[in-house]
Every structure is written in C-alpha cells, then in structure tokens.
Amino acid sequence: MSTATRSRTARPPRRAIRRGAALFAALALFAAACSSDGDDGAEPAGGGGGTSGEGSGSEGTTDMSGADFSLFGAPTGVEGEAMQGFLSVYNDETGANIVYEGSDSFEEQLRIRVDGGNSPSVAFTPQPASICDFANAGQLASLEDMGFDIPTMEENHGKFWMDLGVCADGNHYGIPWFPNYKSIVWYRTSLFEDRGYEIPETYDDLVALSQQMVADGVTPWCFGFGSEAASGWPATDWVEDIVVRSAGTDVYTQWFRHEIPFNDPQIADAVNRFGEIFFGDGFVLGGTENVAAIDFREAPLPLFNEEGGCAMHKQGSFIANFFPPGEEDEVSFFDFPSIDGNNAAMGGGDTLMVFDATPEAVQAVKDWITPDWECVLASPSGGSASELGGHGVEGVERLPGHKDVPLDCYESETARNQAEAVRDAIADNTFVFDASDLMPPAVGQGTFWTAMLDWSRGAQTDQVLTSVESSWPQP
C-alpha cells in the first residue's frame, strides 16, 4: 500500500449531516425499520455522454450543474489539498459541485460508510483488492454498465491494472486513475558525486556498493517501517521488487493469487536477498532492531543530513512529498536494479470505484481519467501542456495513469523522469501492482506486515513466511 495510514479524521461529511437529520426523524417517529440499504447504485447510466468512449479528452455533453456529490479518498494533508485543488478547477470548468473528502483511515471509514448505507458516490482506493469485495456485494456500478470502452481502456491504462478490477461476474469495476512508482531508490546526489559512486545496474552491484560505502565510513541505508496501524508495509515493497525480478512476473502473479504457497523457496530466496542488504554489517542507520519504530515519513530525512545521515533510501515516488521543503534537489533517484538480468516496474495506484452511477458521476469519472484532466492533477501548474492549469498545491505531483499524458505536464525533473518510466511501462503493460495490495487483506494488510516486522527484529525467514502461509484465508 502507499500512503494509507490510519488515525481518525474528525470532519463530518455533509451527507452525514443530512442523513443524521433523516435518522433523527426516523427515530422520533419510531419508524423502527429506519435503515435504508444505502445507495445500491448500479443504475446503468444511459446518458453517460462520453463521445468516443474515454480517452477522447472531450468535456462530454452531460450537464454537470447537477453533479453534487462527494469523492472519497485516502490522501490528506498537502496531497488532500491537491485533490481539492484539482476538483475546484474541475468544478469551475464544468459547473459541477463535487466535494473531496480525505481520510487517514480511508479503508476502515469506507467500509463503515458503505456498510452503514452512507456510501460516497465515487471513491478511489489504494487497495485494488477491496474493489471486488464491494462489487461482489452489488455495491458498485460496472464499467460495462456505465458505458466505458474496455479495449480502449486496456490500451490506455494497461491491461494489468484493468484486470485488477475484474470481479466474480467477469465485469470490470475498477477505473485506473493515478499510479505510484515504487521501484525507486533515492540517493544523496552530492555524496555519490564526491566519492565517485556509480549508479548500480544490478542488485549484486547494489550490495557491493553498500559494502564499499561502509568501508568508506558512510552508512548506506535508511529504513523506516513504522506507519501506525499499517506498520510493516515498506518492508513488503522490498520483497515484492525482488520477487518480481528474481522469480519473474509469472511467479509474482502466482504468489499474490496463492497458486504457490507463501513460503515457497523462491519467496524465501527473495526475502533472504533482501537480508543481504537489510542485515548487512553496518548497512542500516540506527540499527535494524529500531527500524520498526521509525515512521516511514521520517525515514528519508537523514538523506538530507550533511554528516551522520545515510546515502540511500528505497521508497515510492510519493515520498518526495515528505522531503524537507526546498531541499528536494539534494537527492535524486535511480530505478531499482535488475536481478539476474530481469527488470520490472512495481508500483501502486489509486483506482476509482463508482458507488452511485448518476450520469454526472459517470461523466466526471470519464473526464478525470483523460490525459487533459490527468495533466491538471499532475502538477501545481499543469506544466506547459495543460490548458486548464494545475491543482495549485506546491510540491505535489502525480504520475500519469494514462499512457498519453504529456511529460510537459510536470514541473520537476524528478517527476518527469518517473512519469516517463511509468508511462512507458503502462504502454508496454509491464507495470505491475504492489502484491500486498492484491493479497487478501488478512495477509496483505495483516500477517505479511507482521511477518516483515518480526523478521526485521530477528525472526527467521522460514518461520515468518510459514506463519503467513498458515494465515492465508481458506477460500
């Protein structure tokens, strides 16, 4: 998972107030069976209004002045402000009145709201595995019903990503929006330049470079696995990036689908390869036993220390939003190196789900995934490519979820480079998702995290992998 962290958010959504009033009336009148089953959604929105399916970049023909609904998502803080900025551009342009609601505990809150019959109209989730839970319960509208053109979408957004939203009835329920790119190692540029370190091409080079650094008196790595109730996920990213390269994409897919056991030797190999770096002598700043206590948002900060910091840190593109303002230029990144000659791009992504398929909501979603609107979401100004400007929040840039988003939408060199890597990967359909997002939540948001935390604090690889295997829910 990406930035999803959990704590409480206090802002009561407007819908809740309205529903609260309705509930009060119901209580007062002793209308005992007051609970409505919520918006069962899924009315086929005949007048979806898109001209030539999605991807045309047209604003569509639906009158958006009646679009009065909320978009629910995980981003808060500056990332949440960027979503609000994006929506205000969209509202100004189309006359819609769409409100963004962000929650630090998005996953819990969404489930509570949907189960409580108070679902948002549209939500975007960093956990694609949760899409089919809602879809199979009949709570989502399918892309087929909403009039999306599936083959065009597969071409524009990558078949891998589209397939993640295919549920029990064979229909698509997830709409790819914007990805994270996680196969990234950040490094302190001046340190590499001063000491003449080369960007490693292979994982073995990376291990050798780390050893070289220790010999030179530099601490190579910063790690931080802490993330409140989601602690442990940064470690799973490492394992995934290694599995997809060392064992290949097929095994990667079998792994998250549980077609091979979790403690398969190929997975154990990958974890042990991670151990070559994690447990390397003097490799980890602050000591491995403390990594679980370091918040992932604070983990990259020592990269910016002149002295006594670290040289490298692996984390997704979003972490740049947590860099000290004004010092972003001190670090740069390289792609996670190849293993046994295999390269891959691993990431996450936010996928839209439509709970209440009003024509306006469908039209809005179709607009948002066009290159034009992804360009608005891409950077504060939308770069030189956007005619509509950007979301207006300094320091936040979002990668393209559509292969045709112009690179000129981006302001920083960093974002532009990542956007290029991701865009190419989407076009080639080599962009794979974070496996822990695709596993059943009991594993991907539970025992896998716990296993890696235990492992980081000294538990044996085989032991922790076996405990995950035994926790895999029976179908």
């Binding site: 959990r6 704590s7 409480r8 407007r14 107030i17 309205r18 009033a21 309705a22 009060f24 009336a25 209580l27 007062a28 009148l29 002793f30 005992a32 996953e107 819990e108 489930r111 509570i112 839970d133 601490t219 910063c222 409140e228 109730a229 989601a230 602690s231 442990g232 700043l285 602050g286 000591g287 036993e289 403390n290 679980a292 206590a293 370091i294 604070e298 900060l301 020592p302 220390n305 006594g308 910091g309 670290c310 059943p440 939540p441 009991a442 948001q445 539970g446 995290w449 716990t450 935390l453 604090r457 405990s467 829910p473």
Partner: protein, 326 residues
Amino acid sequence: MSNQLLQVIIALVVGVGGIWLLYWGADRLVNMLPLRAATALRPWVFVGPALLLLTVYLVYPAINTIVLSFRDRRGQGWVGFDNYVDIFSDENGRLAIRNSIAWVVVVPVLAVAIGLAFAVLADKLGRRTEAAAKSVIFLPMAISFVGASIVWRFIYNFRPEGFGEQTGLLNAIWQGLGNNPVAWLLSEPWNNLYLMVIMIWLYTGFAMVVLSSAIKSLPGEVLEAARVDGATEWQMFWRIVLPMISSTVMVVLTTILIIVWKVFDIVFVMTGGEFGTTIVAERMITEFFTFRNQGRGAAFAVLLFVAVLPFMTLNIRRFRAQEEMR
C-alpha cells in the same frame, strides 16, 4: 445548504411534534378505558416505545452478532465453533486474550488505587487547593482515547541515532539520566504496560471524583468517634473509610473494568496491535473491518460480551443493594 437546513428543521418539527402527538394521543386513548384497566396499561404505553427501541437497537444486534459468530468470513455459511477454535488455536488470538486480561487487571486496580489516594489526600487540603488539584487530575477525562494516544505518542516518541534529536519526553528524561534512548513501544512485553499507562492516566480522574464524593458523604460522627478513640490517620483509612466506601470502590472498579475490555483505540493508534500488544477489542475491529472476516470479528465481539457480562451483572447487583440500603 439552505435545502439541508430546511430538512433539519422539518425533521426536528416532525420528530418532536410527532413524539408529543404520539404520547398525547396514547394517553387520551388510555383515558377512555375504565379506570382500573387504564392504570394497569398506562405504564406500558409510556415505556413501550423505549422498550421497542431497545429491542431493535440493542437486543436484535446482540443476537445477530452471536449468530454471525457461527458463520464464515462472509457471514453466509455455517461453520459451527470454527471461529472460536481459530481464536484459541491462533497464537495471535491467544496473545490478544492474555493481553486483554492483563489490561483488565492492571488498569482498573491502578486507576482506582491512584484515584483513591488522590481523593483521600485531596480531602486534607483546603477547599480551593482541593478543587484545583482535582480539576487537574480530572482533566484527561475530557480527552478522547485517540486524542490521548496522540499526546502519548509524543511522550513515547523515539528516534534512533542519525534520525535527529529525540522529541519524545520520556526519552529526553531517560537520556538526561545518562541512558541511551529506548524504543519504548517496541520493548516487549513492557510496551503493554506503557499503553496501559495511557488508560490509567485517563481514568484516574474519574475514580478520584467518584470516590472523593463518597468519602465526603461519610457521616462525621463516625470519623470523630474514631479520632476520639485515638485512631491514627492510617488506621482510620483502612478500618473506617475504606470499608465504608467499599461498595463505591467496587462500582468504580467494575465500571472501569468494563470500559477497559472494550477499549481498542489506544492500541490501534499507538502500535496497530503489532509488537505483541494486540488485545481482543482491537482484534475484533481488525478482523471485522480490515480483514473483512465477519465471522471471526463477531466471535471476538461475543468473547468481549461474555467477558463483560459478569461484571455488568455484578455492577447492577451492587447498585441495587446500595439503593435498598438507602
């Protein structure tokens, strides 16, 4: 916005007016009956709606939860006692139960002991000072569990070497005493105790206020008689005060105990149940909402229900006994 405001106003008028109409109408109907029947029926007419609501919002969900605990993860097929077997055979489930038991032993006892000590000592202060001291100790009661947890995160905060200055209060003190900083929340099994401290901090004020009022309502003659007989303060406390307020102590103890069984926020916010700190209520939320395992989540809920039940009964019995004494 104005539309919503209108809705709220209409809801209020219809709701409040509706209730009034209902009771007024029911009362008139009852009045039409012969006097004896009316007298017998009237209480039921007035209590009836409340009973109905209680059934719909409390009894029905409780029964439903129990039923759900015998179903599978989707809440559909029957699985018998599998969910319970899983809880007791799973290492994590057993740990949660063990930790919860530690919580319900440690927290109420310490909260009441400290609260009682404060209550007794504050009683010896002047009126102004006593009020001020008690306010300070009662203050944390006003903070939510999540709020308190966030406050305590700053106290337990830890940064290893290289990640900057320590920002945690406890580590600052610890370092000031010449020790190396400690990752408090990772140090098993003591991290459980560090989390319990938060709850004790929150509920000491509650215990203190209730016990203080109990102490103040003790008859002055008894205390005076004891003093005349030459009892020391220590003897007075153990032989006179404590026995006389023992029923209040029990009520406070069981009340806090029930709250402790149900608390999940502190663990959820501080550690997410990792590092050996998981407790039953936290497992319930995680299994039900995060893991989407409805059956096992419900089974944890039933465990909690069963665990709380005897104390609830005890509390009600005590309360009744106390009422009868008056």
